[in-house]
Subunit: 325 residues, 2 copies
């Protein structure tokens, strides 16, 4: 399983290949949240999301012969791009299984980064089964989007950066709000922060809050549906078998925001941070700004997990929340 | 005058107060430019532009009693916000003289950051005269937007970061394209890079290319008009008396791009870098991407000087250049 040593080893392998993203802030966001807000913008990571970290960690953990045969991933888009770029940088072939309704930009980028893209219907088909079948037929190694020790370790490298960057600002105690789909990012960061006074809280969109309900119930709960959210990047059937026990042990109660709140956070990240964030990547900022009473401490840290948003969706957010200024 | 020692001293004073912005890249931008592109995103600096650097350097160079009486600035918006925030952080009163047609966001932000805003008509009134009059009447110290040794030194701290960050990537020879209004940012960076093989090139919008024409003529040339560009942030009457000789000595030929090319660069920064850039802050990226034959070397470095753009202008850029995808 993933532990701090595995995360540190992943950080060594990522050094010089992944970006160390900064820790940003804005007095305007502090005012809305009623406390100091520190933002970890993983939208600035290679391929526009934290997923490159886990992909690089997983691919560099393979032996050379295995990696050379190639890898396969199934993903709503951000993991796809992370695996595609990491594979290209490492000279490995990559196949990516993506839902047909993923944002066009994500599908285009994944292809442009050299991967072979296989599309499926998110409502009727099972991406895990499709991925496993192609992997077996071609001798490819499956790189799952979250439930994998090296993927979790790779995402956790962001947590090591958060701890060091927050300490440099004098912050050693805070809730760390993390956008949550299957829980790879959140559990990786939670493990990186274990033993500190920085506590992970997951953030999810309403109606797709499987992690919050699972944490509350003490056992895994599924989402009733997998379509209909603007937060496509973080809609997954249920918490992972590896990620859930980690978050059950280390995370506080899950936070849940509406689609409108996520879009409002997209608009505020545009206006106050000069960052492009996709709705699913903005749920942690939305929880930070609009769920203040559920958060503890003078300072809060939140992730912006990705920025791969199509222009029309981005405009919707700006129109709805900035044109009345 | 400004020299490397003064820039290093400014960097010491900025340490822990200004952000060290990262050096970003995208394989998609490399492909358009036909060479490796490294991007210095000063839109991520405090107040959304590099101007905070110069403002902080100038205010911290004042003696305590002078600073406590207060400062005044005249600015189309970004210098205004930089001075307002630096003054607030240092406990000094600030008055800012702004054109009435500046983007609403910049005026609002300057007020929200605690400054008193005085508006004037850019077409008929002289902001220098207005600023000097108020300064004299109230005993305030004028912080000019570019033609000031400490302001230039502060902007130059970005050049020290560029040199160190590029060297860490193995890049020691490149053109460094800098968005240019009065030339404070470009001359500061040029001085910081003096003696290296990193050479500054200014970038300006068509019709407001006073620096390119002045460099070409060997003497200062004025712009024929001061209105009508989407690049409001970098429209100034003419090169500065301090900045021009520096750029005449150290910079290569000036680069000029159209408003449409600046907007195209805004759209590409959204799509490929996940950054919000204003049109005036995107002219260096536009020159990097669309003036490749005029640029030398395997690698090019460019600044994104600011991100304070109103939502409708940003949407115009996305609509024009991304909706046909």
């Amino acid at each position: 399983m993933t532990d701090l040593a595995r995360i540190r080893a992943a950080a060594d392998r990522l050094s010089g290949h992944a970006r160390v993203t900064p820790l940003l802030s804005s007095p305007f966001l502090d005012e809305i949240a009623g406390r100091r807000v520190l933002v970890k913008p993983e939208c600035l990571q290679h391929t526009g999301s934290f997923k490159f970290r886990g992909a690089w960690a997983a691919l560099t953990a393979l032996d050379d012969a295995t990696r050379a045969r190639g890898v396969i991933a199934y993903s709503s888009g951000n993991h796809a791009q992370g695996v595609a770029l990491a594979a290209r940088m490492l000279g490995a072939p990559a196949v990516v299984v993506m839902p047909g309704d993923a944002p066009r930009l994500k599908i285009d980028n994944t292809r442009a980064l050299g991967a072979e893209v296989v599309l499926y219907d998110r409502a009727t088909e099972d991406r895990d089964a499709i991925g496993a079948e192609i992997a077996a037929a071609r001798g490819l190694t499956l790189i799952p989007p979250f439930d994998h020790p090296e993927v979790i370790a790779g995402q956790g490298t962001s947590g090591l950066e958060i701890a060091a960057q927050a300490a440099a600002l004098g912050v050693t105690r805070a809730d760390v709000i993390v956008c949550c789909g299957g829980g790879g990012f959140a559990s990786g960061i939670a493990l990186a922060l274990e033993g500190t006074d920085l506590r992970v809280r997951t953030a999810e969109p309403e109606g797709f809050d499987d992690m919050a309900r699972s944490l509350d119930a003490g056992e895994i709960r599924r989402n009733a549906t997998l379509t209909g959210s603007v937060c496509d990047a973080i809609v997954t059937p249920q918490p992972g078998r590896l990620t859930f026990p980690v978050l059950q042990r280390l995370a506080g109660p899950g936070l849940v925001v509406s689609d409108d709140e996520a879009l409002h956070a997209v608009a505020l990240a545009f206006q106050r941070l000069k960052l492009v964030v996709e709705p699913g990547g903005a749920v942690a900022l939305a929880a930070t700004l609009f769920r203040a009473p559920e958060i503890e401490g003078d300072t809060v840290i939140c992730t912006l997990s990705g920025g791969n948003v199509d222009a029309p969706m981005f405009e919707t957010a700006l129109k709805r929340f900035l044109y009345t200024l």
